[in-house]
């Protein structure tokens, strides 16, 4: 029986110096629930407790006396931690348990390690084991004791946590990247927004963005501020209709539901127009306004209005119109006098005339009428060029207007012995069109047919409903004016609608033409949206077609109506 001095320092307490009997010791080790074994200084197992036997599956009677402690843990013979302590091969510990061991802080000379034993259990086990040398009273190592603890669960949890932490870390990194991307996007968007705003702000025309039918102001630019005298923060959020009332030419207030912002939200597409807008100080200015809708996810949510102060333009237009009116007024003075003088002389009121005197006077009269016609044409052309002629549609009968024009030329038709036929389809619908403009068009086409057809020639005028519109979408009424006259030479056909252009053969036939007739016709038809075309062969004749949609012409405000020419 020996005494065992474990060399354990239990905190501050020194174990009592009285002997612990081997019996007692055996009992302690044997009954401990903690798996442990004891080897002597020859590495032979002297104790293998029940807990370890159960744990390792190796019975005490199998193990005691052997040095097969490795069998319980390893698949091959190698020292356990306890063996290393017996042999004082402390340097081997780091080698055999690299990164897995530690020197106990509690128990001097004790070492602990954690390792994975793949052969144990079903899929291997993690064991935390502590070995400590046993010294006798003289301090000689007489053995070593090793205890084990299954820390598989704990280790699994640790690993799981580590994995999770790893995953979390990766998620965190991904998030950081995503956030950084978003930030970049945000900055980019911010820059674009700033750019767009800068552009909007600096646009020379006034711009206002409104939301909803109440025309709630969202944004205005500098030009708009200057135009109306309100600053952005003063009117943002308010209804544009309250802030800036709108009137028509006659001074009538345009109600909110009729303002372009409302119309556009109703799905209409109003053309650019000029209205009179009130400034902050109550003064008024004419503004040309264009409005388009803002769509968001398929819905019309607001409108963008572009407004231009056209005070100056209108002044210039007015000045031009006045000048032209005045100029044409002056220009007409002389021809009036010439016309009346010639008329008086030709009537014989101032005495009888010789044949030659009569001839010369007639020439004076005729040429003068041409000049008057030219002045009227020029006046019309200037109104056409400026786009300032009024379009004032009424429900008209094209047949009536056409018949009326033909009557005006009755004398000329008779003198040239022309065979003129008129064919008007029954029940032609009325068309919304400006009667004066239609008159000018018919007058020009008919007079051309008459002037450029030789004696005895044939003229046919036909108005009928066509099956297909030339522009698509429904029927057209077609007005056809054809003649058996001189025709337009092929190489001059392209220019026939040009201002002041007269084909060579036309000049030969009639010296008085202005070259403006077809220009005026084409310009009018272009501006009202109707189509004209022709077919012609030199020496054979010409036919002009005018396609008139059943919708007619749209109303347009302007400075003045076109003049009816002189026959």
């Amino acid at each position: 029986m020996g005494f065992f001095n474990f060399g354990l320092k239990e905190k501050q307490e020194k174990p009592p110096a009285h002997k612990i009997s081997l019996e007692a010791l055996r009992g302690i080790v044997a009954g401990s629930p903690i798996p442990q074994f004891v080897i002597d200084k020859n590495h032979a197992i002297i104790y293998w407790n029940g807990a370890l036997a159960e744990y390792s599956g190796m019975r005490a009677d199998q193990m005691i006396g052997t040095n097969h402690q490795w069998q319980a843990f390893y698949g091959y013979e190698r020292p356990c931690l306890a063996d290393l302590l017996i042999d004082r091969k402390l340097a081997l510990i780091p080698r055999l348990y690299k990164g897995k061991y530690s020197k106990s802080k509690l128990v001097p000379e004790a070492y602990s390690a954690t390792d994975f034993f793949p052969g144990m259990g079903r899929a291997g086990k993690w064991l935390y084991f502590t070995a400590c040398p046993i010294r006798d009273s003289k301090g000689e190592i007489i053995g070593a004791v090793e205890t084990l603890e299954d820390v598989s669960d704990r280790k699994k949890a640790e690993i799981s946590i580590k994995n999770h932490v790893g995953k979390l870390q990766k998620s965190k990194e991904a998030l950081i990247l995503a956030i950084r991307d978003l930030d970049t996007e945000k900055i980019k968007l911010g820059k674009e927004k700033a750019k767009a705003e800068a552009i909007l702000m600096s646009i020379g025309d006034g711009l206002v963005i409104t939301i909803g039918k109440e025309g709630k102001i969202l944004l205005i630019n500098k030009a708009f501020e200057r135009m109306v005298g309100w600053s952005e923060q003063e009117i943002v959020g308010k209804s544009l209709f309250d802030v800036m009332p709108c009137r028509n030419e006659e001074g009538g207030l345009i109600p909110p539901e009729k303002r372009f912002i409302s119309l556009v939200l109703d799905g209409e597409n109003p053309e650019t127009a000029t209205f009179y807008y009130s400034r902050r100080d109550g003064s008024c200015f004419p503004g040309s306004v264009t409005v388009s809708e803002i769509e968001f996810e398929g819905e019309k949510i607001g409108a963008v209005s572009v407004l231009r102060d056209v005070t100056r333009e209108m002044e210039i237009d007015r000045a031009k119109t006045e000048f032209i009116s005045l100029a044409s007024h002056q220009l007409r003075d002389a021809p009036t006098a010439i016309s009346w003088c010639a008329e008086t002389l030709l009537a014989g009121s101032l005495g009888p005339l010789t044949e030659r005197q009569k001839e010369y006077l007639e020439e004076i009269y005729r040429r003068n009428r041409s000049a008057i016609g030219l002045i009227n044409d020029l006046l019309n052309v200037s109104r056409i060029d400026m786009g300032t002629f009024i379009i004032d549609p009424e429900n008209i009968s094209l047949e009536d207007i056409c018949r009326n024009e033909v009557k005006q030329f009755a004398l000329a038709i008779k003198e040239k012995k022309l065979d003129l036929t008129e064919i008007y389809q029954d029940n032609l619908p009325l068309v919304a069109a400006d009667p004066q403009l239609v008159q000018v068009v018919f007058q020009n086409l008919i007079s051309n047919a008459i002037y450029y057809t030789g004696e005895g020639g044939r003229i046919k005028i036909e108005i009928r409903l066509e099956a297909d519109s030339v522009k698509g979408g429904g029927k057209d009424i077609v007005v056809m004016v054809s003649d058996t006259g001189y025709g337009i030479p092929r190489d001059q056909q392209a220019k026939i609608f040009e201002r002041m252009f007269r084909a060579d053969n036309a000049k030969a036939v009639r010296s008085g033409g202005s070259g403006l007739g077809l220009y005026v016709v084409k310009a009018i038809l272009d501006q009202v949206g109707w189509v004209i075309r022709f077919e012609s062969q030199e020496g054979k004749g010409t036919v002009f077609y005018v396609n008139i949609p059943l919708t007619g012409m749209a109303k347009r405000e302007g400075q003045a109506k076109l003049t009816r020419g002189v026959v």
Binding site: H329, P335, A337, W340, E343, T344, Q559, K561
Partner: protein, 127 residues
């Protein structure tokens, strides 16, 4: 046809020659003719010896035709007098204003022969 008394026409025009040509023609047609060379004179003439019809030019010095017409209509004596505006101005605004101010007709000089004007005057006087 009015046979008893010759109808009187007042021509208000600042162009002496044109006024004379018109005057000659209308006299030859059997009318009494008086002339005034601006709106001011015209008004005086109307109130001095009332004509049956007035041929009124628009562009005149001292008082233009439009002003004269408005003044005429404001006066009791001039309210019902037929006035034919006879001018070489030709735009919608002027025409509308003329009719709004009480003109019975608007004729563009250059587009009307002497015969034509005479016919129109006669038909106005007959109605």
């Amino acid at each position: 046809m009015g046979l008893d008394k010759k109808k009187k026409i007042l021509i208000i025009d600042d162009e002496p020659f044109l006024a004379r040509v018109l005057s000659d023609k209308l006299s030859a047609e059997g009318f009494l003719v008086a002339c005034a060379k601006n709106g001011e004179e015209g008004l005086r003439e109307v109130f001095k010896d009332r004509p049956d019809i007035v041929l009124l030019d628009l562009v005149m010095p001292k008082m233009d035709g439009m002003t004269m017409l408005k003044k005429l209509r404001r006066d009791e004596r001039g309210r019902d007098l037929p006035v034919i505006v006879f001018s070489n101005l030709n735009n919608d605004k002027i025409m509308n204003e003329s009719f709004a101010s009480g003109a019975s007709d608007f004729l563009v000089k250059v587009n009307n022969s002497l015969d034509g004007v005479t016919r129109i005057i006669k038909s106005r006087l007959d109605s």
